[in-house]
């Protein structure tokens, strides 16, 4: 199917999802220089917060180098054209964080819930819509349920006031056909003026292919990260995706060479580890596990001597969802006890 001439709005995740890969330690200078580079490359929307969203600063997920307020205050005034978005997970962040973000000039709020729990987002989506923000409902781990269930939950968020709904492949588990089914059903059944988005992870190497499938099925917002900097094997690498869109003659509005340069000159040099599909990241995609579990599982392996892959497979079997990072150390301890290692 041709997407020639189709308008695709790209949304960079390197300064939010990328925080997972950097253990939330991106410096203010790095934030500002990458955001500025992206702005100059024509990126319309850039997400900035702790990896787990507003209020994510915690012992459980990791304390960041700087607070959400500091990051947002540093980046927003420097933007010429790009708008800044913030993620909010009800249960972690609250409407107080949302108001703070709005006051600092955040344009887009993305309220994220597990794909079956949309009804916890009513107060946050409602408040953001009331404040006339660009309000996005973000359904995570969308691979775990049927297209019909995603639609049911999307309708709740639409009803609370979201003007855009995301199908979010948090585990990087989905394949293009599934993306098409889910986005296609949302496109057919949601209001025609509700925008649709797709957020991919590259754990099975399908980030670009899935994003193209999403656009073909009716999504117009696509998340990715410059140089793929994100949890797990990273997000859809944006510079690659832009090149593909360019060849498909879609209307993306990004300067390809400039975004390639941001990736190569700014983002890759600051990576703590190469963002690649190592066996643990591959396990996330294969077993359907939340991508930000990756580094926690690797640390648990180092500390307790239980293979990260074994931990991740078991966490997948137990049906863990985003935010349950505490279960990784807990499980590692239990498995280590069983093996007589502790």
């Amino acid at each position: 199917m041709s997407i020639q001439g189709k308008k695709v709005t790209l949304h960079d995740m390197s300064l939010r999802d990328g925080m997972h890969a950097k253990r939330h330690q991106i410096s203010l200078d790095e934030m500002v220089s990458i955001a500025t580079g992206l702005d100059e490359a024509g990126m319309p929307l850039i997400e900035v917060t702790h990896g787990d969203g507003l209020g994510g600063a915690s012992l459980n997920y990791g304390f960041p180098a700087h607070s959400d307020e500091e990051y947002l205050s540093a980046v927003i005034p420097k933007m010429k054209n790009a708008k800044i978005s913030a993620l909010l997970l009800p249960g972690i962040g609250t409407v107080d964080h949302l108001k703070m973000a709005k006051d600092l000039g955040v344009n887009t709020i993305r309220v994220a819930t597990h794909c079956t729990e949309a009804d916890v987002s009513e107060q946050h989506i409602g408040m953001a819509a009331k404040m006339e923000m660009d309000t996005v409902g973000f359904l995570m781990m969308a691979h775990m349920v049927s297209p019909e269930k995603i639609l049911e939950q999307a309708k709740l968020m639409e009803n609370y006031g979201a003007n855009c709904i995301y199908c979010t492949d948090s585990a990087g588990y989905m394949l293009p056909e599934e993306v098409k089914q889910k986005i296609g059903l949302l496109r057919a059944e949601l209001n025609s003026n509700t925008e649709l988005g797709f957020h991919g992870h590259h754990n099975l190497g399908m980030g670009v292919a899935n994003s193209i499938a999403a656009v073909e099925a009716g999504a117009n917002r696509i998340d990715g990260s410059v140089a793929g900097l994100g949890a797990g094997a990273g997000n859809t690498p944006l510079e690659v995706f832009v090149a593909v869109l360019e060849r498909m003659e879609a209307d993306h509005g990004i300067d390809l060479y400039k975004i390639m340069d941001v990736a190569e000159d700014l983002v890759v040099p600051m990576m703590d580890h190469p963002i690649r599909l190592d066996r643990d990241a591959l396990t996330l995609g294969y077993a359907g596990v939340y991508s930000s579990f990756l580094l926690f599982a690797k640390r648990a392996e180092a500390k307790y001597g239980i293979q990260a892959r074994d931990l991740l497979v078991e966490l997948g079997r137990r049906g863990t969802v985003g935010g349950q990072e505490d279960m990784i150390e807990d499980l590692a301890l239990t498995m280590a006890k069983e093996k007589g290692l502790v």
Partner: protein
Amino acid sequence: MTKKLKAAIIGPGNIGTDLLMKMMRSDWIEPVWMVGIDPDSEGLKRAKEFGLKVSTTGVDGLIPHVLDDDIRVAFDATSAYVHAENSRKLNELGVIMIDLTPAAIGPFCVPPVNLADHAKNLEMNVNMVTCGGQATIPMVAAVSQVQEVEYGEIVATVSSRSVGPGTRQNIDEFTRTTSGAVEKVGGAKQGKAIIIINPAEPPLMMRDTIHCQTTDTPDQAAITASVKQMVKEVQKYVPGYKLVNGPVFDGNKVSVFMEVEGLGDFLPKYAGNLDIMTAAGLRTAEMFAEEVKAGSIELPAR
């Protein structure tokens, strides 16, 4: 004089019914009234079958009988919106109010930590915080009783089926109330609370992780002993309160991993988050009754 205090339960839903079933086994509290607003509700019918008097017109239907039936304690399992009125009306008649809603008009009560103080002071309204608070604050307190806790953080993971519409519509109230109580009752200088809802089937048992950051190097032996002792205290009213792992020490971080299995009275066993609320509420009323019997407090004169 009989030692049992007579009680009313307001709200015949899942929580109210589970509370009733626990109360029928109590040596200290006798359930007499169940208060609802829908005459056709299953909960009221069930209460009637158990031999309770029922009001179908809310607390107003109970008020005329409070003195005659010598109602001394009421449990409010309705909502924060109506609790204030319920409490005012019943407090006026000298009824002690155990608040299971998020209203939190009265002081927070986490039985093994501060119930004894509330009972001795005859607090006429005590609030049971949140399910996550009941499950985790004893652990924060166990650490802060040993040494200063600079920061306390709790993560409560509950099954989707055990989270009702009220909590879902105002999930911020959970995080706000719980983090406040981690400070006020748990003794952490700064508190944070996180709630995760998991839809897995079969439903997962309530899980709680407690992280404390101590100001100075943690005294591992003393903290471990304090945590184990506190687990035993909670097990007195919630036998399924289980230390799965920990305390684990990492620098000044102390982590404890808990599982809470309910008794399975009316609520299913996996809903340990709801069970610990009803059990803590009942335990609270029982301690008031014990103090009355011991003569250390006197109920309002009638």
